[in-house]
Structure formats: structure tokens, C-alpha cells
Symmetry: C2
Subunit: 747 residues, 2 copies
């Protein structure tokens, strides 16, 4: 594609790594570009076509992102499914089949024993030709742990060697990038490839982690890489971030099969600048991604996720009490998890522990695998576990959780009344309780290791187990005590009044809410999983309670906590700045500091400027009329200044150290025999943002957030007094919250 | 409730009618209030309780809004249903029953003839004791027109006499109010009462209008009135607008039974300032409203709307072609409608026509009723029509639209293959074509009359008719030509491959999109009506096409067009300002104007200030150090200045005309025997927003939008040069778009 815009000096207008972009400048540049294209479009047919194609390139890009991230999600689902089963055995009918598909193709299988077919061989069958006895069990156990360790080792090594940015969930970093920070390579092709591969390995290793968060990172990598095909997005950091917001929506859309929820997640949780045009495009990308994934059909059930459910029984108003209890549990667990996980991650950062990521991963994997194998609910993959917990026991379900007494004596067709629990349910309850404890403890140590690891699935699993336990408890209570006052109005004998699967779902929502502090997007995602408007109210009650409880114990969600732990310069848009400080309390120079370094508009030589550049590290300098008046003319960025002066030294004839630099539009006529002047009017920002020294910081913070500023100048009665950078604002916020202001690492 | 904040002088900090609020000041005031409550909460238990109740008052308010607007929507639905049927007859079994309920209670009715029961008497039966023959038809015709005229007359008279603001859909005005404009009484109790009553009358009169838009106005009235119960919201214009945004969501939620769609509508279409906290609360309000309405169950089917549908047949990729055609139709119709409707409304405003609203309404009602009665599809209420058009013909449907040949010969149980159309379908097609023409023409004249009138339902009806016609056409084409290449891969003989009801729904979405230019919210609302993720793609294809086509023919949606027609000071947040002008081109004073009127900080007397106040009409004055230096100190609002000076004259001993006014923090010691000075430091805004004269207007517009400013001062090299108000910005935008800048009426 052509590009009408030319940059006079290469490098002017770009950013260094670990710097913050200037949203105002980026958006201005995009508008200039757009204006130029629109103006030229009237001149020739070719330019008109270019203008139209430029307008539609955004949609094309969304389509490509949807297709690519949908396909990758399908690939990840299928591979992870296969490799998870590989830990238990292989299919002799074709080693590329997973357990379920293997038995689908089998002739020797009844519906009752769907899982058992001669084609599927466990490792003990392959090695010692039997599946019976203690030795076979030990062989299977050993192979399970071995495969888990192998997968984990591969994952952590690949991450360490090829793409260190591929670890974690990626959401804290994506939030920071979307807020305008630059981390080169974080969304690059190596990260994409390694993250995709290692995500499959990490999920298959049986660790307590999910693929949902990393899928957002994968989708954002797709978005970023595809941006390179379009000039409009490649060259403009602000426009590119619009695309990344949409890609994040597509990522959640494929992770949960929830396109609307994905868009709301992007809006609520990750995005910073989200104009309405982006909303519509994100929705498109999310939808394309979801339908791509569905046509791949990774689970063979034409659903986008493993844990899609449909409930049939309505809930009763009284059930809000247990739902709210689940909300409280979710909030408590969320707050506890964040606190302990952050403490552990801080320990990892500050002690020797962080130097041995491979050993750490292997140890955690070994512990997880050894503890997981004996219990069938920890052995199965977490999303299968969630799927089983959400499931409403039907007539044909053969799982232990559905082992009720009199289960085949139904009064009416299709209706399943509350029944006394059988032996299977009681043993399942014990196993689930152990699973709950294991998941609660091990997840704390897992999240934050140097492998791709999402938190959605483990949180949902914790909540779903707690919910199912409570649900079965309630069901049995209602069965044995249906004459109690709280039950007798709505839960008569033989009625189907309590759905334990719904409790599991509500619990999952509560725990997810407690950890991430999502609100609307959480409810909408769960709504899209059930498909019934009916169940929004329980979900909302649990999500609200969980958020209130968790917020009371700690304001930050897990992503914000990790952002702060890593010291990313992220200016939170949700929190109000509640202190009564003024701009003069925050600006540099402080009262006893040396004066503000300024440039004058027409009295400094090249040498003076070079001295200032070498003696200071500020990222920009205000330009004033004269040092005495301190009246502000404009602002010039250090990077632009260095490039321009160097460029002039090299190319412009006769510019020497004593040449005077003019920041004015017209330089005055010079006497003869003086060295030629250097005019830098073109790199001067003539509309720097200013506030007065008495402006409350709450307004300054608001301006920084809403306009996406990098810096702001402070004046008093029209005289320049100081400067506030985004870093100063972040430090001040940290200071006010009694945190260490120097934890803000980057500028 | 208590209020810790006290205003030193009553009136300072409030706004006049038809003025724009200062978002920055309002938000600062709310933060101050919040800070004060938080600080006090540590002192006593009572203050702590107050602090907690203050924090939860927002949620309580949302609950109340949801309950009230849900109840009102139920009331309106039931009354409108009954009064619509009253035009045709009454129930002798109880005159409070509508036609459907009347026959439900009857013993003498078969399922086939659900509509016919002896208890329901048409007017001819009551008056001339027969329902047969031409005379009975004329009697019924006459009574139908008479009732329609009576309802319309009552509606327009009530609006005219009691609440002129109750007319129209209200959405353009609510958008303007939410952007920060003040229209006293627009959301008051009289408007609420009269709008509720007249909405029922207007809908029942059979005019081509809907209740959905006005329901948003009704919900916003509820929100505004309930705000008066809470100090936090009553006294703060910015906080109140957050509540109104949520109320708008609740309004759409009950109008379409779509809580998520409602929230997105509020976000996308009506709201201006929509922090994430509001998103969550809006969702809560929308959900409460929807469930309140459902427990009222106005349609007796436990659905929130009359036109809820469930489709069973998937769509085929090829069908995207007719869906896109429907999108084009919707876009064309939308653009045409907006253009003609605005032309007609402008004619009404500028000619004698606008002086006779009652006659206008009666004439339009008479024409509508006379043309509507002979055709059953125009005679029924528009939402019933839409319901019938969306409906997928089942085995038991007795409507003419389902009169296919061989309709009872189904191959498999529950599956309805494509069949040849019977006589009923052909006659229905003709009647629908006539209905389409009538609706297209009459809606242009109806929307904008002095009665409550929504546009959603008529637009959807137009689209649904067009869609159903196309759908039936496609179905017959596929039936008779299933060997054509386009059909033979997926539509074999005897298969159920085309659902005409889906075409109707897609058409409805297309037309609604063409008129309102909604995008995500439109698709989500329609999705919530069908409940299947499957059908999002057709809806999205149609909505995208429709928006592109309509945008190509005219940028504005109907609400924006009406905002501009009425000259409301609304700063559109979606459109980018694309011109290359600078702040100096827009600011006052212009080049040849007299100098900017400024106050000096310490050298003006009370008399000087009073002279300036009486000689100018500016809404505020910059305060400078001295006229010579023009260095800016702050900004003072005219209203605050007048109130403070008057107050000082009345109360403060000895303040006379020669008293000097000080805008400084400390007034210098005065020599004895000079009149006492007047200190106005407290009303001075010490942090006025400033931009330089060379700031591009695109950035200025952005600042005005994002920060919600009322005015902004312009400086050059640190000296005050001029001022830009929101009105100046709006005028400049209008001028750049080649519109009459003086159409911006209010300041």
C-alpha cells in the first residue's frame, strides 16, 4: 500500500522501548493522515480507491484477526486435549486420536461404557500388558508424572530460551501496553509461536492453570502481527491499540465461546482507549473468531467450550441465600489468593528462588502430578472437571456425581425429582473436597511461574467445586426436610427443585469475580455459557457479593496487583484519586531543587543545547520566550531534539556549535558572517498542555487519563513553574496510597 | 439524610435553565463531598453508618428505578393492549378484559377459534346486534375511527395543556441532557404522569408509532424523580446524569426485554459520560426492571415482549445474499426516512402548520384509521403485526401467513418442510405490501407530532414486512426450484430450509439500524429477542450493510438529526473533527472585535464589576493580574459573581460601590477610612483550562468532549488572548460542515 505521509527526518515521532506514547500526538497524526487521503481522493480514481480501501482496511484486519485467533484457539484446544490424554495412554486405532475420539471410532463400545474401548490402551497395558493390580497402577502413575514433567520441562525451557515474554497470562502486560506503554517484542511473532506451543504443553502437564488468559495474549499477538500488513495501523501506536483492544475481545470470545462477553471484557477490563467505533469492530472480530472456532469444532459437540450447559429447572427466591454465601466465599477466596500469590511472587522476585525457574516449574509439576493422580477429579483436565460440575444430572449420566438412589424411577418423563444421594455421590463429595484444597493451595504457587498460565479456569474450578458441594448439600437438605418452613412453600416431595449444577456455576462466577473483579463482562460470559436469561439474577447476586467482599479486603484485582508488583506505569482508570493535593505538590522541580531546565526560543546555540542534553535525562524540555519572563512557547521532546540536531550537524551545511537555534516561525535577519542558524520550529509542540499550580491533583489525574498525556506543564499567573510527567503522577498516587513510590520502574 | 456540605451562599454553584453544566466542577464537588464523608466516618459510629449508607444509596436508587420503570412499563403494556382492543369491541364478561383475556375465560371456545367467543362483542353486535353484513362493517369501521380520534385528541390535548415536554420520543433531548445541558421540567413528575397516560392513548389510537422510545423517557423521568430522595444525586448534576444513563438502560431493557442490549444502547447511543461503575449499576437497574416486568407478565406468556421468537432451522451461508439485500433496503429506507421526516419537521417549525398541533394530530389519526381498518395487518397493533411476521409457522398456527398447502402432512414429527404457499399466503402478501406502503408514508408524518411517539416499532414493522415478503419469496423459489445450483447443495425437496420469520427479523434489524445507526446494541437487542447465538451473523451482516448504506447517504441518525433540527448544544462524541483550523480561528474576541472583557485581581471596585455585568452577557470572566500583563489568574462565573456581589451588598457591613474587590488570597492592609474590601477568592476558579492559540481545533474539540468543559481560555506565550465556549465550538463545527452556525440556539 502507498503512504502519502512522509516523515522529514527518520525517527522523529517514534518511541523508545519502555516508553509511554503520547496519545494526543498519535491521534493528531492519524487525523492528518486521514485528511490527506480524503483530500487526495478527490483528485484521481486511484486515490479514491486507496481512500476506500483505507477505510475498509480496519474491517479486513478484524476479519483476519478473527480467523487467525479462532484457528489458533481450535488448534490449541485439539492439541491440549490429545496431549492431556497422552499422559494416561494412547490410541492404537491411530495415535492422533484422543481418548474420546478413539472410542468414538470403536465398534466394541456400549453407551454405558463410552470411556472403555479396546483401542484405548493405558500405559500399563502397553508396557506390562495389563490394567489390573497394584503394579499396573504404579506404572500408570509413573508414566503420568513422567509425561507431566516432560511437558512442563519443555514448556519452561522453550519460554526461557526463545521468548521470555511468553510466560504468565499476559493480561497485566496487555493492559499496560493498551494504556500506552511500549514493550517491544511482547506481541511479536516469536512470542506468538512460543506461547501457542508452550500453552499446549503447560495445559497438558496437568498444572493448575488455564488457557483462557493466555489466549487473550495469543489473540493480541495475532492482532499486532497483522497490523504490520496495514500502513494505517503499523505506523500509528494509537490506532494499533484500537486493534489490540478488538483482538483481546476476540481472545475472550474464543476462550469462552462468548462474543458479547468478550467485547465487554475488553471494554471493562483491558482497554484504555475504547471509542465506539472500536466496540463495533471488536464485536465483529469476536464473532468471526467464535464462528471460526465453531467450524473447527474442537470438542465435537458444535459448542465453543467444553462447559456449555443448559438448565431446565427455575430457581427459587430463597436460593439467593446460598448464592450470596457462594459470593462471600468467592470474595474471600479471591482476596486471599491475591494476597498470598502476590506475596509468593514478591518472594520469587527478591530471593534466590527466581533464578531457578526450570527447577521451580519441575517441582511444582511433580507435586501437582503426584497429588493429582490418585484422585479422579484432580487427574482429569480442569475444564473437564468444570464441565462435570456444571452438568445437570440427566437420566443417562453415568458419572459418580449423578449416582443417586432411585435414579431411574422418575415420576414424569424428563423430570428428575430431588433424590437421596447414593454411595457414589458421597464418595465424590470427599474427593471433591480434597480437590478443592489441592486447587486452592497449588494455584497460589502456579500462577506467576515462567510458563503460560491463565487464572480463569483454576478460579472457576475452585468456585465450581465449592458450589457443587453446597448444591448437593442443599439438595439433600431439601429432600430430607422438605417440610421445613423454608422449603415447604416451593419444594414439595418428589419435586425437582434444586439444581446442584447451577450452584457450581454460581460458585465459579463468584470465585472468578473475586480474583479478577470483573462485573458486567463476568455475568455476560456466564450468561452466554448457559444461554438462559433466567440465571442472570443468581449470577449477578454472587458476582456483586463477591466483588464487595473482595474489595473490602483489598482494592486491587489480580491483574492490577501484578501490574503494581512489576512496576508497570499503568494509570488506573477506574479508581478515583481521592486526595486533596495540588499540582504544585507534585510538579518538578520541588521547592529546593535547581530551577526547571528550559530552552529559550531564540537565544541558545547548538552547543548550549547539546550541553543540556548531555547533562540531563529529561525526556523533553519546555521552550520559553526568555529565562526572565518564563513565558511558555512550546515543548520539545528530547528524542526529536537529539535526532534533529544530529541530523543538522551531518547534513545542513555550516551548522556549527555556535549556531543559534530558533524555535520561532521566522528567524530574524542575521548579520553577515555569523554561522547559519538552525530552525527547529517544526519539531516544537506548540500546544503543550498546561495547568495552573493550584489545580487539584484529582483534575490533573483525570486529564492524564482521559487525554492520555505524557507530560503537562505547570504555570502560575501565566509564568512557567514546573512540569508533571506521567511518572510523577504515578509516583504521587503510590505515595498517597502509602506505597513505595520508587516501585514505578519505567518512565 | 444529612448533608455535611454547606453552601456558603445559596445559589452559588447551581445552573440556570438552558445552560450547560461544568462537568469538571461537578465531579470535583462530588469528590469533595465523598472525602468529607470518608473523613468524618472515622469520628463516630453514626457518621460511619452514614458513610456506608451513602455508598450503598446508588444501588438502592438503581433498585427503585428498576422496580418503578418495570412496573410502569407493565402498566403501559396492559392498558395499551386493552385500549387497542376497545376500538373493536368490549368484553361482556368484564369490560376490563382485552380480547385475548376475554376469550381465555370463556367456556365456549375451541383452540381453532381462539379469537371468537360469545363474551367478546364487537361494536356492531352491541349497537345493532349483528356482526354480519355491510352495515355492521360500517358501524365497526365508524367506531374504530371514532375511538382512534378520541384517543388521539385526548393525548394531544393532555400534552398541550399539562406537559409540552411529553411529546416525541424524548431520546434526542435525553442525549442532550446527558451531555450536560439543563432543561428544567423535562424529566419532572408532570412529564412522567402525562407521558405515561398519553403514551397509552397514542399507542391505542392506532397511529404508526411505538412505545419503546418514550419508555426510555419514562424511565429517565423515574430516575430523575427518585434522585430527589438522595442528597448525593439531587445536588450534583454530574452524578445525576450517571443515574439517568442507567435509567435509560432500564427503559430499553423493559421495552425489548433485553437487559444487556439496554445497557449497550445506553452506552452506545444516549450516554455521554459513562464510567465503568455506571455500566455495572445500569446492568443491575436493567435487570431489576426486566424481572419486575416479567413478574407483572403483561402478555400472559412469561415473556417480556410480544415478539419473542425461537427459531429452529439453521441458516445457510448463501442466505447472506438476501440478508445483505435487506440491509441495503434498511439503509436506503433509513436515509430516506430521516431526510423526509426532517424536511417535514422543519416545515412544521417554520410554517403555520406548527401552530395547530391538535388539528394535525387529528388529521393524521383520521387518515391512518380510515386507511388502516380495511386491512387486517394495519388494523392490528404494530407490535402484534411484528410478532406475527417474526413467527415461524408451526403446526397449530392458524394465521393467514401460515396457510400453506399440505400444511398438515409433515414427513417427520415437528419438522415443517418448505411447502407451496396457499391462497391465504398470497392474499397476505398483497395485504402486507399495502401495509408496507402505508407504514412507510404515514410514519414520516407521524414522528415529530405533539404526542409521545417512538420510532423503533414502526421501523421494525417496515423492515419486518419487507423481510417477510422476501422470505416467503425465497421459500417459494427454493420449493419450486430446489434443483437450481444455488439451492441444490443444501435445500433438497421436502427439507425445511428457509425460515421466512428469520428474514422478517433481519429486515427489522436492518431498518432499525438504518434509522438509528445503532450497531452493537441493535444486534444484541435482536439477539436477546431470539436467544440464539446462531442468528447473530445474519443480524450483524444486515446491520453492517444498513449502516454503511445509510451513512453513505447522510451521516446523521434520526436522533442526531432531530438534535440539530432543534438546535440543542450537543457535542457529538462519535464524529471526529476533521478540519485543520486552530484555536485562534475560533476564539472570541475575533480579530476586529473589542478586547476581551477581563477582571483584574486587585484593582476593580464593586461599581466597575457591576458595570461590566450589566453591559455584557458573557457567562463568565477571566481574572488577570493586570490589564497590561494579561497574565491569567483564574476564571469567575457570571452567576456566582452576581450572587456574591448582591449578597455582600445586602449582608456585609459597609460594602459600597467604591469597595475594591480582591480576587487574591490575602488582601493587602488597607489605609484607614477606605471602604471595606470585598474578598471573592472563594468563588474564583483557580484552575481554568487553557490552550495555546496554535492548538489545533481537533484537540480542542477532544478536550471539550472528554473533560466536559463549558469554556476554555486561549493564551499566547503566556498571555491571555481569548476564550472559547462550548457554543463557539458547536458553531464552528456547524460552520465547517457548511451549516448555519446560528442554528445553535442555546449557550
Amino acid at each position: 500500500m502507498m503512504d502519502f505521509l512522509e516523515e522529514p527526518i527518520p525517527g522523529v515521532g517514534t518511541y523508545d522501548d519502555f516508553n509511554t506514547i503520547d496519545w494526543v500526538r498519535e491521534k493528531s497524526r492519524d487525523r492528518d493522515r486521514h485528511r490527506e487521503i480524503t483530500n487526495k481522493s478527490k483528485e484521481s480514481t486511484w486515490a479514491l480507491i486507496h481512500s476506500v480501501s483505507d477505510a475498509f482496511s480496519g474491517w479486513l484486519l478484524m476479519l483476519l484477526i478473527g480467523l487467525l485467533s479462532g484457528s489458533l484457539a481450535g488448534l490449541i484446544d485439539i492439541s491440549a486435549h490429545w496431549m492431556t490424554d497422552l499422559k494416561e495412554g494412547i490410541c492404537t486405532g491411530g495415535i492422533w486420536f484422543n481418548h474420546e475420539h478413539c472410542c468414538w471410532n470403536s465398534q466394541h463400545v456400549t453407551f454405558e461404557d463410552r470411556d472403555k474401548c479396546p483401542e484405548w490402551n493405558s500405559w500399563s497395558q502397553l508396557i506390562i500388558s495389563t490394567n489390573e493390580g497394584a503394579f499396573a497402577y504404579i506404572v500408570n502413575y509413573f508414566m503420568y508424572v513422567l509425561w507431566a514433567l516432560l511437558f512442563a520441562f519443555l514448556a519452561v525451557s522453550l519460554v526461557k530460551v526463545f521468548a521470555p515474554y511468553a510466560c504468565g497470562s499476559g493480561i497485566p502486560e496487555i493492559k499496560t501496553i493498551l494504556s500506552g506503554f511500549i514493550i517491544r517484542g511482547y506481541l511479536g511473532k516469536w512470542t506468538l509461536i512460543i506461547k501457542t506451543v508452550t500453552l499446549v504443553l503447560a495445559v497438558s502437564s496437568g498444572l493448575s492453570l488455564g488457557k483462557e488468559g493466555p489466549l487473550v495474549h495469543v489473540a493480541c499477538c495475532c492482532g499486532n502481527i497483522l497490523c504490520h500488513c496495514f500502513n494505517k495501523y503499523r505506523k500509528n501506536e494509537a490506532k494499533r491499540r484500537e486493534v489490540l483492544s478488538a483482538a483481546a475481545a476476540a481472545g475472550v470470545s474464543v476462550a469462552f465461546g462468548a462474543p458479547i462477553g468478550g467485547v465487554l471484557f475488553s471494554l471493562e477490563e483491558v482497554s484504555y482507549y475504547f471509542p465506539l467505533k472500536t466496540l463495533w469492530r471488536s464485536f465483529f472480530a469476536a464473532l468471526v473468531a467464535a464462528f471460526t472456532l465453531r467450524s473447527i469444532n474442537p470438542f465435537g459437540n458444535s459448542r465453543l467450550v467444553l462447559f456449555y450447559v443448559e438448565f431446565h429447572t427455575p430457581w427459587h427466591l430463597f436460593e439467593l441465600v446460598p448464592f450470596i454465601l457462594l459470593g462471600i466465599f468467592g470474595g474471600l477466596w479471591g482476596a486471599l489468593f491475591i494476597r498470598t500469590n502476590i506475596a509468593w511472587c514478591r518472594k520469587r522476585k527478591t530471593t534466590q528462588l527466581g533464578k531457578y525457574p526450570v527447577i521451580e516449574v519441575l517441582v511444582v509439576t511433580a507435586i501437582t502430578a503426584i497429588l493429582a493422580f490418585p484422585n479422579e477429579y484432580t487427574r482429569m483436565s480442569t475444564s473437564e472437571l468444570i464441565s462435570e460440575l456444571f452438568n445437570d444430572c440427566g437420566l443417562l449420566d453415568s458419572s459418580k456425581l449423578c449416582d443417586y438412589e432411585n435414579r431411574f424411577n422418575t415420576s414424569k418423563a424428563g423430570e428428575l425429582p430431588d433424590r437421596p444421594a447414593g454411595v457414589g455421590v458421597y464418595s465424590a463429595m470427599w474427593q471433591l473436597a480434597l480437590t478443592l484444597i489441592l486447587k486452592i493451595v497449588i494455584t497460589i504457587f502456579t500462577f506467576g511461574m515462567k510458563i503460560p498460565s491463565g487464572l480463569f479456569i483454576p478460579s472457576m474450578a475452585v468456585g465450581a467445586i465449592a458450589g457443587r458441594l453446597l448444591g448437593v448439600g442443599m439438595e439433600q437438605l431439601a429432600y430430607y426436610h422438605h417440610d421445613w418452613a423454608i422449603f415447604n412453600s416451593w419444594c414439595s416431595q418428589g419435586a425437582d427443585c434444586i439444581t446442584p449444577g447451577l450452584y457450581a456455576m454460581v460458585g465459579a462466577a463468584a470465585c472468578l469475580g473475586g480474583v479478577t473483579r470483573m462485573t458486567v463482562s463476568l455475568v455476560v460470559i456466564m450468561f452466554e455459557l448457559t444461554g438462559g436469561l433466567e440465571y442472570i439474577v443468581p449470577l449477578m447476586a454472587a458476582a456483586m457479593t463477591s466483588k464487595w467482599v473482595a474489595d473490602a479486603l483489598g482494592r486491587e484485582g489480580i491483574y492490577d496487583a501484578h501490574i503494581r508488583l512489576n512496576g508497570y506505569p499503568f494509570l488506573e482508570a477506574k479508581e478515583e484519586f481521592a486526595h486533596k493535593t495540588l499540582a504544585m505538590d507534585v510538579m518538578k522541580p520541588r521547592r529546593n531543587d535547581p530551577l526547571l531546565t528550559v530552552l529559550t526560543q531564540d537565544s541558545m546555540t547548538v552547543e548550549d543545547v547539546e550541553t543540556i542534553i548531555s547533562e540531563t535525562t529529561y525526556s523533553g524540555f519546555p521552550v520559553v520566550v526568555s529565562r526572565e519572563s518564563q513565558r511558555l512557547v512550546g515543548f520539545v521532546l528530547r528524542r526529536d531534539l537529539i535526532i534533529s540536531v544530529e541530523n543538522a550537524r551531518k547534513k545542513q551545511d555550516g551548522v556549527v556549535s555556535t549556531s543559534v537555534i530558533y524555535f520561532t516561525e521566522h528567524s530574524p535577519p542575521m548579520p553577515p558572517y555569523t554561522p547559519p542558524t538552525l530552525k527547529l520550529w517544526n519539531i516544537l509542540d506548540l500546544s503543550p498542555f498546561t495547568v495552573t499550580d493550584l489545580t487539584p491533583m484529582e483534575i490533573v489525574v483525570d486529564i492524564f487519563r482521559k487525554l492520555g498525556l505524557r507530560q503537562c506543564l505547570v504555570t502560575h499567573n501565566g509564568r512557567l513553574l514546573g512540569i508533571i510527567t506521567k511518572k510523577d503522577v504515578l509516583k504521587h498516587i503510590a505515595q498517597m496510597a502509602n506505597q513505595d513510590p520508587d516501585s514505578i520502574l519505567f518512565n
